[in-house]
Symmetry: D2
Subunit: 388 residues, 4 copies
């Protein structure tokens, strides 16, 4: 097919041409005297993306999900007890990862489409007077449902409970897109990947650690090698990595940081909000519902759209991909077939989303969902028009 | 601004990523024993794009307009008399070029927005019983007005008038997008550039010559050097060029030919027709008019949209560019300020055009043109929905 | 500095322009119906690189060293006993990784510069009549010393000892460059990375597993998540990955496989042998010694050159990098300061190596090593001249 | 063949990766309000490359040789009389171009390998008391023979003869590599292309014009269109071009100017001198002669090497290309088969040239020329060693 494909899944996101160029570079010697300049440029600027002054950032050749493991094995003893909320497929997988690694996880089950119940978290922690719970695992932005949690409120609950557990925040689909306050929210481990807000291909895991979390690294005896932060910290301090780094992705990350910080993280968040408002207006104009059960928890990086009863979302996704050159995200886990997901994060703009919404409209009509072509796009354009 | 710019002018057109990659190559020795493979791959396949078996094709480091000069100085004696139709800015410039080179041009003036009047051409040729007129200059697709001529009808008129003049067809905005029948239409010189249907950056002039035209090259004494076809033909025959060729663009052209011929020129033309139908439906839904005065002459590669009386098209173009990240073509010559032009040729698709139309809609509303947001896009989507 | 840098370390190796282009691509939906084509193209062809018909191959977003961990945690119970030979920095790190993961490793200490002592391996296995040793860890090509082991001989020793231990071969600096016979050598786990013979940036771990090794995956209870082969195998079988794959590197790997298999693995090995012969001739002409103690164990992918007594290799490396635009590998571990290493693997050729040797010559002279400029290069050219 | 090809012809020259990246960009609207920034960045900085404050610079989609025509048709009336020196193939072609365009050229014939005879130029001008000669055509650096002229001396001769002719300098293989003093030498038209010192693909002609030359543009009546400077100047003044510019090459040129001016033109010239000294040392060590008959006229951008009597240079070039992956320039015109040419201009360095010289050495030996392998390279390294 001629023309560009519209990659409108919640990640990987479209890679700006500028970053593709930044990665199109000859290899270099990762042990040369010139190399630390790159390492330091990246590691010194990553904290700015999440407003972190407390602690350090690390980059691994890994998927974002690898950082779940990196965060846990470096800070928790074998068999430690953790608390988590399950409210979507990615919170589910975070829990599974912890269990696969031998941790004991207390799970607060929450309906998918809802946000994490702060009161239940607080209650669980308050009840744990012996402080057996060593960590709280929370997905900031649940990519399966399009729901964003209020991490600050969770931190406040922890503080009210006077509970010393570490706070692990999966920000894979929020960091570098949504407002993320590492310091203010008292985050101990922030988890991200290169392929969403950072606008790069997948392949880099990005891990923020507070001083409190870092203090555990030396004492924890969990067997570990690849994700062991001890040699990583040693080498990073000198500007190097303990094994050959994924250099092309680092070149890209370095320039992605320049793009993000030049724009400013507040502007980045505002831009994502603006894009999301338009997409939500389109969903409403189609007469469909979002998976997010309340407007105030709706994510600004993706929207999960619930199909009318009896309609199969997979068919819409398949038609959209094959006939109209747009990729949409499928429903995952218990939402399989029930929702399709529109990503609106990273390097995109109103016209690209208008094109994508146009593809969704044609696919919906083809699938037999009775909407008026142009209605959703028009509603979105109404929000995207720039006030004169 | 984040996201992709929508380049929706009638050329240069968006360059497919594949062609950008094809041009991203180390230089090579244009005199090496391996080089003729590339030359031959290009020169042997260019004729297929225009259904040419009669004659040869040539490629110059030049803009497309340079081929106006190349065609004339290689086939017409100084001061020769030519016949041309003026019905837009590019037919005007073709005439000016001929005059700048010292030719005498009889001009049939035609309202802009109309196509070339075949009957007047026939009459002029029939009246020229002495056969003083040496050539007929015709722009196939007038990029300023969005009007396509029926070249076959012009050829039929020439045949009816039994006139031996050479037929020069500017196909800059038609070749490799619209159906072009070099043999069937009895074209003597076809003129194209790399930056429209060929989907490349500007920088290559592409010239097709019939045997009849080629026979003139050796005998014509017009002073010429850069565009002289004699050394070009000599060198091409051996697989080389008389001076260093624009190699990166040749790498691109070679792959563009593969893309076009793999798709098939009939499919390419059908695809452009389909895109154009949608854009015209949008214009109609906006309640606006096309510059092309009759549906049957409306171009499938671009649409010039006439602004309502008293409204300035430049303002719409400026708003679209600055606020919504879409480039539109301006009105040229006598149409300046009166029309904006939407390019829909080359590497594009329905969703990209839906995005561009969305940008036009917002810009129109911002400029005070009372349209309903989504109306044009919806009308276009109606035509683009794939019949199940 | 103008001109190209000469990256002559033993990895990462120079990335061919073709592979840089292959990676310069828009992102894609890794869950689309079209995606399995890529997965299968890679996973079905990786075995050909190592002549494997027994078992499967896997690709992780990881460094090559991550595959040490992946191989072990998927096939060995916590605390299992393993046998390894230490004869250089990378065999040392392989042992360290196993110990970090909680395994018990019996180590056969061998002088650096020597190859693994097959007789001692055989003796150790023969003495283990209870078959407590669960695995033999061997680095095929020790990147620190430029020594290649005879894996077939090790396999023969294991067979003679009738020992059932799994055979783990680190082929990071040999696979895709040197002859590697997965089936014939009875390898159970082959370990590679993208940044050496595969000519790509680092970022992909490549793991081959025999059926015998795969049979262990389901039964072993070692806690694991990121490197767990169970979900990887499940997803791979359907053409997908359990988490977002490092797509740009996969695009590169797919084309690297085409390059390698089009050339033929025998031709690839022969080409590396030819390059190595020239470099060794240069070292001899300089009057210097290789770290490899015997010609028959000298590696065809890199040469570690021993500095004259009292001379510091770091100085040569530093001068070469800063004055002459060539990167050389440093001595590692106990060889620090004593050797410099010249990589001659991956996408290189005689003239590139001649340029690199020229840089080495100038750096040696600058550092006070009394060689004749041109002597080493001339000796190398003597071997590289093509027999007429 | 694996590894990089060594492109060691006197142009096109190797394109730095940075410039390939700069050209790998989406198309843009060349009529947008943002476009003039690019035009001005280029046109304001081109004069700095040749130390020009007198006049303006222009860029055409054209080969460098197109600028011969552009310079002449914009400044000389039809049939004007010109004076030129023929001392190699490119001076020959410059003369031919002028004659093809209808000019009358007085030619001072000079042995190939010699420089232009300043005394004969002076004598010819002095004898032209009626000032019939309108222009002096001179190739600064004769790419066929590797000879550089002293343009300042020619200007002094013109001044001594008090002759008002315009001075046309072909700097295709000198500008942006060798010292070029537009103002100080009183140049009226400087002629260059993108594919040599500017390190880009061919496709851009670069023309410098003095005020005196520009004054002729409006008055000269020579028929012209493509190369007509009148619309070019008009459009350039507003930041645009009269026809679609070769945008990808302009992106490249803009960044090439940054590279050159950041390095500084004096440093660029010094770097070329250093590279040339090494190559000449190699030629001497081989016992061969340069085509340039005197050391003081030997070019710093290329060296034409004369084959021993009875030996065919084409064979060396063919062997070098096919066996050793290095492209050398052939002998042109009367030097065909007698010389091969080594380009050492643009983005190259000592190690690259050492590699190329190594290829030449092997090819020479293969062709039966009795040289010692390594002798030339060693002699070059002697000159390239950095004084401590």
């Amino acid at each position: 097919m001629a023309g560009r494909h519209f990659l409108q899944i919640p990640g990987p996101t479209p890679i700006p041409d500028r970053l593709l160029r930044a990665m199109h570079r000859a290899s270099e010697d990762h042990r040369s005297s010139a190399f630390p300049t790159l390492t330091r440029s990246i590691l010194s600027r990553l904290p700015h993306v999440v407003h972190q002054t407390n602690g350090e950032h690390f980059v691994f050749p890994s998927s974002g999900t690898g950082m779940w493991e990196a965060a846990l094995v470096n800070t928790q003893q074998p068999g430690a007890r953790l608390l988590a909320v399950r409210f979507g497929q990615f919170s589910h997988l975070f829990i599974q990862t912890a269990r696969n690694l031998g941790y004991h996880v207390d799970v607060i089950e929450t309906p998918w489409g809802e946000s994490a119940p702060v009161d239940q978290i607080e209650a669980a922690l308050a009840a744990d007077t012996a402080h057996e719970i060593q960590g709280v695992l929370l997905v900031h932005n649940e990519t399966a449902t399009g729901v964003t949690n209020d991490v600050g409120a969770v931190r406040a609950a922890m503080d009210r409970a006077k509970h010393p557990a570490l706070l692990y925040i999966d920000g894979v689909s929020s960091i570098a897109s949504l407002d993320f306050q590492f310091d203010a929210w008292g985050v101990d481990c922030s988890i991200a990947g290169s392929q969403k807000g950072f606008m790069l291909p997948a392949g880099l895991g990005i891990l923020g650690m507070s001083e409190k979390a870092l203090a555990r690294v030396a004492t924890v005896t969990t067997p570990r090698s690849y994700f062991d932060l001890r040699p990583m910290r040693d080498q990073n301090a000198r500007g190097y990595f303990p094994y050959t780094p994924a250099l092309s992705l680092l070149f890209g990350l370095d320039d992605a940081l320049t793009m993000l910080l030049d724009e400013g993280m507040d502007a980045v968040a505002a831009r994502h909000r603006r894009m999301a408002v338009g997409v939500r207006a389109a969903v409403k104009a189609w007469g469909l519902h979002e998976c997010a059960k309340r407007p105030e928890i709706a994510s600004n990086t993706l929207t999960a759209v619930v199909m009318p009863e009896g309609q199969d979302a997979s068919r819409v996704i398949d038609i959209a991909f094959k006939r109209y050159d747009v990729s949409l995200g499928a429903g995952l886990g218990e939402l399989a077939g029930k929702v399709f997901r529109i990503g609106h994060l990273g390097d995109t703009n109103a016209l690209t989303l208008a094109g994508a919404l146009s593809g969704v409209e044609m696919a919906l009509v083809d699938a037999g969902v009775p909407i008026t072509l142009g209605a959703g796009v028009g509603a979105a354009l109404q929000t995207w028009r720039v006030a004169p």
